[in-house]
Symmetry: D2
Subunit: 413 residues, 4 copies
């Protein structure tokens, strides 16, 4: 097999990472299964870092995009109008926004990455308020371009910026005391701290280790944002699009974000997209073209993404997500009670984490998983394993994957 | 027709721009033709802002990606290995790098936008040198995320950042005197200026108004970069991938960039991609995962992009590009000699610009072009019209587009 | 009288401030009394913003500097050696450092202002650690030049900087919970916060409203500094030089600062000085001339300052300071218990504050004090009156001044 | 002798610099002579880094300040009004401003150091314009606090800041081409550079190596400042107060600065001061207390400074300055023609420099000068010797000092 990866070792950058943990060449994939060139079958509990909520090569999406290509649909349109873009917007408004009373919200398509959408949200908040500082939280992940990276917490990522990461006030996630302390500083003219442009929060921290915000804290953040005249931004890039058992992971928290950031699962089948959902009173601060980007008009993403939205026309899909999440939960709880090295299980819908005692333990387990034909990833600073299989995973594949995980844990611990 | 754009006016952000100049809904496109929902046919001299070098819905690319989808190829793979990524890399090495003696270069796939690739290049340069400052040039365009935006010159874009754009030294493009002055400052310990991390240059400024770097100046920049221990970065996002009559627009300038930045046309059919070509001695400064991004493994882009690379196996395609560029040139030269409001023609290969006396004149002309069924865009600060049709445009469409342009100019001037 | 201030109104900058509250021209001063050109006598409870600990025109200092001038002593010496500088250093070592076991400390003379000394301390901390961030606290005041101003809390001062005030982490003074939260962030690799270069604290906040640090909190700050490898800097500019009943205001708190910053009272009779007391293991990070300044060698300040140091050869002077502080305290306590508009009394040694309900109340009271012949100043954001008479004030003048204050309060409330 | 400097070696900071080149302890000084504890007499061609224009212990100044002290004048007054401050202002207006038609200018007293005055000037310019960037020039020296240091050019000083020095655009002194290039950038909306808040220039660079600005260039800078709406700031700290044969070194250049910065010689006898001369239309942007400082009201500096101003009531003193400058010039010209290691002589009034081939040569010469009883200093990056004796130096001392210099040069070369 090694000859098959020579190309990569010879001509791809040293920056490559996931492929070092999964050192094989994949040739096809279907729902929760990936197959390599040796015809080995892997069950995928990583789903392209939370993108493939609807599975690899989702059949409805495949059909839709092949039809679209064959009828010469407009694949690339910048921000010009196309029929499929309209259908995507209409569908998002009808299926997602209207039931929440948000049908006046403005959708802004950015460059097709999460980090680009984050950068646009920060610009808008700064433009609306005329302020510079953003409040961001520990273990938060918001992207790798300079503006977003300043909001990202992990020092391993931050330290590669090469320049100071500025204009961000750092605080502690899910910590009511810290929030109260921040409030005091912000209303104290002798604190040296002025009201910020925005608070940016993940309703469920994904990369940070699957940490759902509590209702009390998230509402507290929203209130402090409102009280200081700052925008309240929810980064739903990984936790949104149905991942947590509801379209938005914050649907049960009774909050009203000024900007919602979406990407990853929104594009359907791995076809990329980045989008903001802006309150109109803030959106109007934009002038034409003030945040551009070549690939904002991705026809394939609109087509596949619309198929994805259809899953949310009723609650059946969400219920299935929760049911499957609980299947995983049960297995993880058992591991947690059995092994002292397992420390905590965290879950919202079908995003789960098991935290171990060390990154070393986790590395051994995920290495064994790979051997056993399971793709699964660590997160945070390495001591946590995250479970984000396709939401559409079949029960037998889910159980088989869990068996492979349990076997791997047993082999290591 | 207006009812058909209600969706956008009601639920899309106020930031939308191109669609205001081209206020119609497109439903299909083929090579250099776009068709709207009223079945009006437009000739496309803008090519998705320089992305669609091989035309809308290039038939070979369509076939390749439909086959790929239908065989359940891996559409989304992060930075894991896939067969189609390997084929893309092999093809790039064989077709592009080897003939230039650069077969040891390292390809780095970034988030699939130009600006993301620029951010990665800046990080690498800062990491390699341990320095912070980047030299960038007037009228340069490098993207809209915070790190790239600091390198972008146009104040209309810069003013939306909301925070200071720092760590960039600004200098003047194609100006030998300015370059000499900069050299003096950099070697004067009493200048307050230290050696920079990198110089970032577009070999042909595209958005800045089609301004090809002279050989003398670009070599001077490279020499100053080398002499100061800075990296020499060529941003070839819009001018590369065959646009200027050779694969790289700088192939005739005898330079040896430390990092080449590619995006736009590299992905083939509007399927997005961002890629760096790094010298190995600098690439090795990267540690695994130091600049990540969800959508770095775009199977569709690898497949369509590889088809695009095949065009460069011999010189025939480049020769055609130059031939067609000269067809455009001839028409623009005639306009230039006929109308006093036309000031200058600039060209490299099939990227051309005609500069008029004012942005107001240009706005009238491009408005008339739209009426006449020609999509064409202004650039820089509005006083320049840029010609970047698909390189694959048929001669009759090219001539018909030029006729429409001439008619529009005549109607206005 | 108004003709006498015409010069100032006509040719002095609009920035003038204290003189607006005390709009008369002073011609002489002696200990705690200032006399204006109308021969009106004022009792001075402000002491030149805490400089004149030993009184206006202290007779011993007068004699010493007149002798020095008449023998052609070196008034201005940059950082060259002079006899009087040596005597000042010897005296500081003998009288102040040795009794504390700090005779190895290194004295660094900076430009003769507090803010310049603060800038030097920040540079040294950043040089020693190779880090950039400084932790500073709410209501802290450290000066008005850009580096020091970034550490100063009051937004009224900060907002005049005209540029971002960066590289400072803001936290809450005397708040153990906030300190614990900061500790967590600093040891969490996922917090986005790295260890700082230094913590800068006033042991007693003066301008911030006379707030003595608690022992528990200040030791906590020192421990966090030590644990993170940061320097622990005590800004003793206003609270030092005997003001609080001991040479250093932190003598009773059992701390061991890496850098002590002194200015104000250190120079004796209003003759300016700025000085750092550095631990030798950090001081050695300096190279020659890395923080220069023209007026670092102030002969008059060394001469008068040495006389000031002599006051601390035994405890008598400190005991007097405490005794007089308690006299003031008693009067303020009575006011506090009598008037609902009085909120709190704070004290350390002979620095006291009475906090009222509003800045408006305070403005009326201090205005009435001026009429009654008492010079006294507000601080913080205006709602606090600070008592810092010369430490050498005679009892009768002290009582007379307090009577004037009480009369002013009674007239207003 | 070494025992006499033990104190400094043991308890003074490692940062000390001048004293390493002049390792003796001075006990008295008179006009241009300094005497050490061994009764060795030195002639002083350095004058306290350009402070002592009127000599050490100028007899008129001594008399004035002794009288002032003995009558209990107000030595320290913050920004309160005093009789001696009024006399200083009146004298400055009458003697300096009126003859230039500038009697409406506003004098702003800052903390008593040049760097503090520079910081205040930068704040005012930023406040007036609402802009952030300052244009500063190579080899410029403006001080060591963070805001001023960002304007200072010498990398040896800059590198000790420990944080990025931002918000300054660097350009080349006395270079018309560079200025023209800067103008182009500032009026090009596609340059990435916006109009600055101010240009700060020394009319004669002192620390940078005695480089007088040409009339053409300085007027060009003023015009560019005016055209861009920026303030034109002249830093006259070292070159002003009569040093160059006229009160301001730019009196012959027909410019009209918006802010003049003064310090050093303005205070008379080494008594410190910092002062701005602001145009009233800009000064009014200040609000009360927006740049404060404890030692702004230095009675001794007002008294001695006023005596200094009296020297400029007629042209006799300036004529003497020029005459003595030419005596030095003649000797330096001879050295320059005699030794190949001498490269260039530069002069304005009584500030002169001789540039040698290397810093090593200069170090040898100044070392020999010390042995021969001459105090003289290197500047810039070490290869230049600067001549700035007291303007009041007697002819015999001047000639004797020059003889010692010539002997030192001869001994080395």
């Amino acid at each position: 097999m090694s000859n098959k990866i020579t190309t990569f070792e010879k001509n791809e950058s040293e920056i490559r990472a996931y492929c070092r943990a999964v050192p094989t060449v994949f040739k096809s994939s279907k729902n929760a299964v990936m197959i390599d060139e040796n015809d080995k079958e892997f069950i995928d509990f990583f789903a392209g870092a939370g993108v493939l909520n609807f599975g690899h090569n989702n059949p409805k999406m495949k059909e839709a995009i092949v039809d679209f290509i064959q009828r010469d649909g407009v694949i690339h349109s910048l921000d010009m109008y196309t029929d499929v873009k309209r259908e995507f917007i209409d569908s998002f408004v009808e299926t997602i926004l209207k039931p929440r009373g948000w049908e006046d919200r403005k959708l802004q398509f950015t460059g097709p990455t999460g980090t680009n959408a984050v950068e646009a949200a920060l610009k808008l908040a700064r433009k609306v308020t005329g302020r510079t500082e953003i409040v961001a939280f520990n273990r938060g992940f918001h992207g790798m371009t300079l503006g977003a990276l300043a909001c990202t917490a992990n020092n391993a990522f931050r330290s590669s910026s090469g320049v100071p990461l500025t204009n961000v006030i750092r605080d502690t996630f899910n910590d009511m005391e810290a929030l109260e302390n921040l409030r005091q500083k912000m209303f104290d003219l002798g604190s040296g701290m002025l009201p910020p442009a925005a608070f940016i929060v993940e309703p469920v921290q994904a990369e940070g280790g699957v940490r759902p915000a509590t209702k009390e804290w998230l509402q507290g953040v929203q209130k402090l944002a409102n009280d200081t005249g700052a925008l309240f931004i929810l980064d739903s890039i990984q936790c949104g699009s149905g991942r947590c058992g509801s379209y938005f992971s914050f649907d049960d928290l009774d909050v009203d974000p000024d900007i919602i950031i979406l990407a990853k699962g929104l594009g359907g089948v791995g076809t990329p997209i980045g989008m903001l959902v802006n309150k109109p009173e803030f959106d109007k601060a934009w002038g034409p073209g003030q945040h551009t980007g070549t690939f904002r008009g991705q026809g394939l993403s609109f087509v596949a993404g619309k198929v994805g939205l259809d899953y949310f026309k009723d609650e059946e899909f969400n219920n299935e997500t929760k049911r499957k999440g609980d299947i995983i939960r049960k297995v993880l709880d058992e591991i947690n009670s059995k092994y002292s090295q397992a420390i905590e299980i965290r879950q919202k819908g079908m995003m789960l984490a098991i935290e171990f005692d060390s990154a070393a333990t986790v590395k051994e387990i995920t290495g064994k998983c790979y051997e056993n034909g399971l793709i699964i990833g660590a997160c945070s600073t390495g001591e946590i394993i995250k479970f984000i299989p396709p939401l559409t995973i079949e029960d037998d594949k889910l159980n088989e994957g869990l068996n492979r995980f349990v076997a791997s844990v047993e082999a290591v611990l």
